[in-house]
């Protein structure tokens, strides 16, 4: 009994301590486990303690950000970073509208812009696991996701068309963590939105989103009656990094453990502008910018993949031989996202096994953040479930500046259009 009491006290104390530590405007979220919707066979996932913004980022806050960082203003932003709807509801570069608008959550922001905002505050976007973990809570319970009334309430909100003028972000309902307006306001970006829906190997099915459609959508779900969660995953799955949507905003998160400061989100025109250090199968350091200068065929995957990646490498080899002597003028890059298994040694082994002419081929691996950024920029999806890697299929042709001139997303597709796109770049 005494031991039990002590444990309870200790637990209470640690929660209190966490709350005390929370930066202003943020709530401390105790860690725990939860079962994501799309992981029927998966064990519950672990969420570490973290801090989350109490309210969604407002137009006023975003105004301060674009004032300080003019590159993110509406008239200046690069088209790679946000589509034409970026801040479309604002009256001007530095004019979000009247006082009501200032307090409302900012919407029409791309993932890149949301990420840049967070990083400017020394924060980051929450992960999908973190967001969903907090989203299970209602006003009194840490996990209300088994309560049909709670889910029905969410469905009712999701069903309604987006309001043209969302009210103040501070008016959102407060959950037991102290976080307001997670539901019932606007959708929110998560850091790894492009991992949504990728559960189970891609199995030769080029369109991972297939699982979102018709009956197949329910096959892998852990709770097929949780339509509210289905809708959130479906929404995320429909996004790309540059999308700006009228009902989509964001809030920032922060790790409890002080993380090294993130490099500021770069202004990139092509993926060769992206920061980060990669390591090749030869053990050399590689920056994206070093890849400039010749056309390249690139893909993302992991070398221990037994299904899709070998086929993609096979396709790339056939593209290589279709070029004949011109193959020397092109490069072939395999970007791995398997940070656990792929290192220079493993990648070298794969290159040897596939008998790839090493002067033309490059295998590269980096840290999670750098990889995620490249994947979003390439509109590539991947996720890790129970050490099981899943991903979309991509063969892209890049010109000497890194601009994507052709992309093939279907596994086993005819290589002719890809070869043609490449040959066009190789014309003298």
């Amino acid at each position: 009994m005494r031991i039990f009491l002590a444990v309870v006290l200790l637990a209470a104390a640690s929660v209190l301590a966490a709350s005390d530590n929370a930066p202003p405007g943020m709530s401390a979220i105790p860690g725990g486990t939860y079962k994501p919707l799309y992981a029927k066979q998966a064990k519950p996932r672990q969420v570490q303690p973290f801090f989350l913004d109490d309210i969604q980022v407002t137009n006023a806050q975003f105004l301060a950000f674009v004032t300080k960082y003019p590159d993110w203003q509406r008239s200046r932003i690069k088209p790679t970073l946000a589509d034409k709807n970026y801040l479309a509801h604002w009256r001007g570069d530095l004019d979000p509208g009247d006082g009501n608008a200032l307090a409302a959550p900012v919407v029409n922001v791309s993932w890149f812009a949301a990420k840049a905002y967070c990083e400017a505050q020394g924060k980051r976007l929450p992960t999908q696991d973190e967001w969903e973990f907090v989203a299970r809570a209602d006003a009194t319970r840490l996990d209300a996701s088994g309560d049909q009334a709670f889910l029905q309430q969410l469905l009712e909100w999701y069903s309604k068309p987006a309001s043209s003028s969302p009210s103040s972000a501070a008016e959102g309902a407060k959950n037991v963590h102290g976080v307001r307006g997670l539901h019932g306001r606007v959708w929110e970006w998560v850091h790894d939105f492009n991992s949504t829906m990728v559960v189970g190997d891609s199995r030769g099915d080029g369109s991972l989103e297939r699982k979102l459609f018709c009956g197949a959508g329910s096959l892998l779900a852990s709770d097929v009656s949780n339509y509210a969660a289905f809708m959130r995953y479906a929404f995320r799955s429909s996004l790309k990094g540059d999308y700006c949507v009228a009902s989509l905003g964001f809030r920032a998160a922060k790790s409890v453990k002080e993380a090294p400061p993130m490099p500021a989100m770069p202004q990139f025109t092509t993926i060769y502008d992206l920061p980060g250090i990669w390591r090749t199968h030869e053990g050399e350091k590689l920056k994206m910018e070093q890849l400039r200068g010749k056309p390249r065929v690139i893909t993302m995957g992991f070398t221990s993949c037994k299904f899709a990646c070998p086929r993609i490498i096979g396709d790339m080899k056939r593209i290589e031989s279709a070029l004949g002597e011109d193959a020397d003028k092109a490069g072939f890059v395999f970007f791995s996202f398997d940070t656990e298994r792929d290192d220079p040694k493993q990648m070298k082994k794969a290159a040897t096994e596939h008998q790839l002419a090493s002067e033309r081929w490059t295998f590269a691996i980096s840290d999670e953040e750098t990889i995620r950024q490249l994947a979003v920029a390439l509109q590539f999806k991947f996720a890790t479930v129970e050490g099981f890697l899943t991903h979309s299929n991509l063969i892209a042709v890049l010109d000497a500046d890194g601009k994507i001139v052709h992309r093939e997303e279907e596994l086993g597709a005819d290589i002719a259009p890809t070869v043609a796109a490449l040959k066009k770049l190789l014309l003298p």
């Binding site: 069903s159 068309p161 809708m231």
Partner: protein
């Protein structure tokens, strides 16, 4: 089907069968009769022998049918129910552009009841699209910026994985484009297939696309778009206000609303579709479900042709009710012979009368009394042997009433359950049908006569308060106590004289023979 042809068809059919068996030669008049038969068939069932286009087994693989090359370009005409775009008269396939906008909006479900519909084109059902076999379609799906959800479209007319679903998955504020070739003719349902697909369908995301076969369907006078679907709302049928989707009811498949064309009354009353006597009507009928199969029926009509399950060959003639699965369709055709209102129902009939599955076709034109006379007479029907009907009543086991007050109270119950139906809540009766019991001179003049009337019934003229009534009072099968109570209640209500009728009095009257029936007149 036109009745004037019926006899000709039947006799000629017999002849044809005989000839086919090779039993005898046809005489010239019989040959003529057979020709008349074929003509009749062509007129009434034009599609049995299509005047143009492929038939029979060729349809088993429509891609083998010879067609002209694709040429030209056009934008598809899209219509809202109950309208259908005009038939396609082109003799060649073309490149067609279809632009469909997804709109989430609040609209009327029934009077006083609103619902947040997700729509293809702003209405439920979605736009009707009409293209031709072998057309090459460039499909644009636009999702409005104020939509909350991503959406896509699965067209059952598309040959290819997902029916276009993956290719058309569209975030709010975006537009997706994909192309397909319409290899198979037929009437196809389309719907949103974004997870959770059930909810997207339950909120109204469906419609019909008709891929016209080469040569088209036989000409008709009127074509209409009818689409059945059901809705699952938080409140029961008719509960006013904005009603949210209810997950439990959708899972247990117990809808509150089953409707044609998206809302209660969308095709009834002032919204009924119009046609004329002599016209041939074609209905393109779809069923979006999400759960229920429709027993589609038009009250007062018989379908001359049913293109079962939305195929392009009439599979059956003379059909009363055709079954349309969720995510399926049918084309039905019928001629209009008699004016009046024809009611479309799901003949799973509680859906029609309690959940809204009613539509109407109002047909104007001249009466045809031979085909349908209307009501010619209204007369009393009596069982043989007894002039007066007897309504069996369970005998009461209750102890007798202790006093007048209790007798009145119990009598009221008897009155309300048995007498009130004819004599009305305040004893006022119904003019020319049922005499009044309020301030009734007939009652107050003679208690024994009243008791006898209740016990034995009454037939023939009776004069009450100066009015003559000619209907029948049935024998009610009440026991002495019940008769006493009921009459005491009546005598002590509505200005009558306050008599208390005792069971003993009833017993005494029962013992005497009923009065002879008045002479027939």
């Amino acid at each position: 089907m036109k009745l004037t042809h019926a006899h000709t068809i039947l006799s000629a059919l017999a002849l044809t069968l005989l000839t086919q068996c090779g039993e005898r030669e046809l005489s010239p008049t019989e040959k003529l009769s057979q020709e008349t038969f074929m003509k009749a068939i062509l007129e009434t069932h034009q599609s049995t022998v299509p005047t143009a286009g492929p038939s029979g087994d060729a349809m088993a693989n429509p891609t083998t049918i010879q067609d002209k090359p694709v040429s030209g370009q056009e934008d598809a005409i899209l219509t809202d129910a109950p309208n259908v775009p005009p038939p396609i008269t082109r003799d060649h396939p073309t490149k067609v552009t279809i632009k469909l906008e997804v709109v989430e909006l609040v609209k009327r479900m029934a009077d006083g009841v609103d619902y947040t519909f997700w729509t293809f084109g702003g209405s439920v059902p979605g736009k009707f699209m009409r293209i031709r076999q072998n057309d090459e379609v460039e499909f644009h799906l636009m999702n409005r910026p104020d939509s909350k959800m991503p959406h896509n479209i699965d067209l059952h007319a598309v040959t290819g994985p997902g029916g276009g679903a993956a290719s058309s998955f569209t975030t709010p504020g975006h537009e997706s484009i994909f192309s397909f070739k319409a290899l198979n003719p037929g009437l196809y349902v389309y719907h949103c297939a974004t997870a959770p697909v059930g909810m997207h369908v339950a909120n109204g995301m469906y419609g019909l696309i008709f891929v016209e076969p080469i040569g088209g369907l036989p000409k008709v006078d009127k074509e209409f778009y009818v689409f059945q679907s059901e809705f699952y709302t938080k409140g029961p049928y008719g509960e006013p206000g904005l009603q949210p989707f209810n997950m439990d009811k959708a899972l247990t498949e117990t809808p509150d609303y089953v409707v044609f064309n998206g809302s209660v009354g969308a095709m009834a009353g002032d919204n009924a579709v119009q046609a004329k006597v002599g016209e041939k009507v074609r209905l393109f009928v779809g069923n979006g479900g999400p759960n229920l199969t429709s027993s589609f029926h038009v009250i007062g009509e018989i379908f001359d042709n049913v293109y079962l399950e939305g195929g392009v060959k009439p599979a059956q003639h003379q059909v009363q009710t055709t079954m349309i699965p969720a995510g399926g369709s049918a084309i039905v055709e019928f001629g209009l012979e008699v004016p009046g209102t024809y009611i479309l129902v799901d003949h799973s009939i509680f859906r029609a009368f309690n959940k809204g599955a009613v539509g109407m076709i109002k047909v104007s034109g001249d009466e045809n009394k031979l085909v349908y006379s209307g009501k010619q007479d209204d007369r009393i029907y009596q069982l043989e042997g007894g002039a007066v009907q007897s309504i069996a009543q369970a005998s009461s086991q209750q102890p007798p009433a202790a006093n007048k007050e209790e007798r009145i109270a119990r009598g009221k119950l008897v009155y309300n359950s048995i007498c009130m139906a004819c004599h009305q809540p305040e004893g006022q009766g119904i003019p020319k049908a049922f005499p009044p019991l309020a301030k009734s001179d007939y009652l107050n003049a003679d208690v024994k006569r009243s008791i006898s009337t209740v016990l034995h019934g009454l037939q023939g003229n009776v004069t009450v308060n100066g009015e003559v009534y000619a209907s029948i009072m049935p024998q009610l099968g009440l026991n002495d106590e019940q008769v006493a109570n009921a009459l005491t209640f009546v005598y002590n209500s509505w200005g009558n004289n306050g008599t208390e009728v005792l069971p003993a009095m009833v017993k005494e009257v029962r013992a005497t023979a009923p009065p002879p029936a008045p002479p027939a007149h």
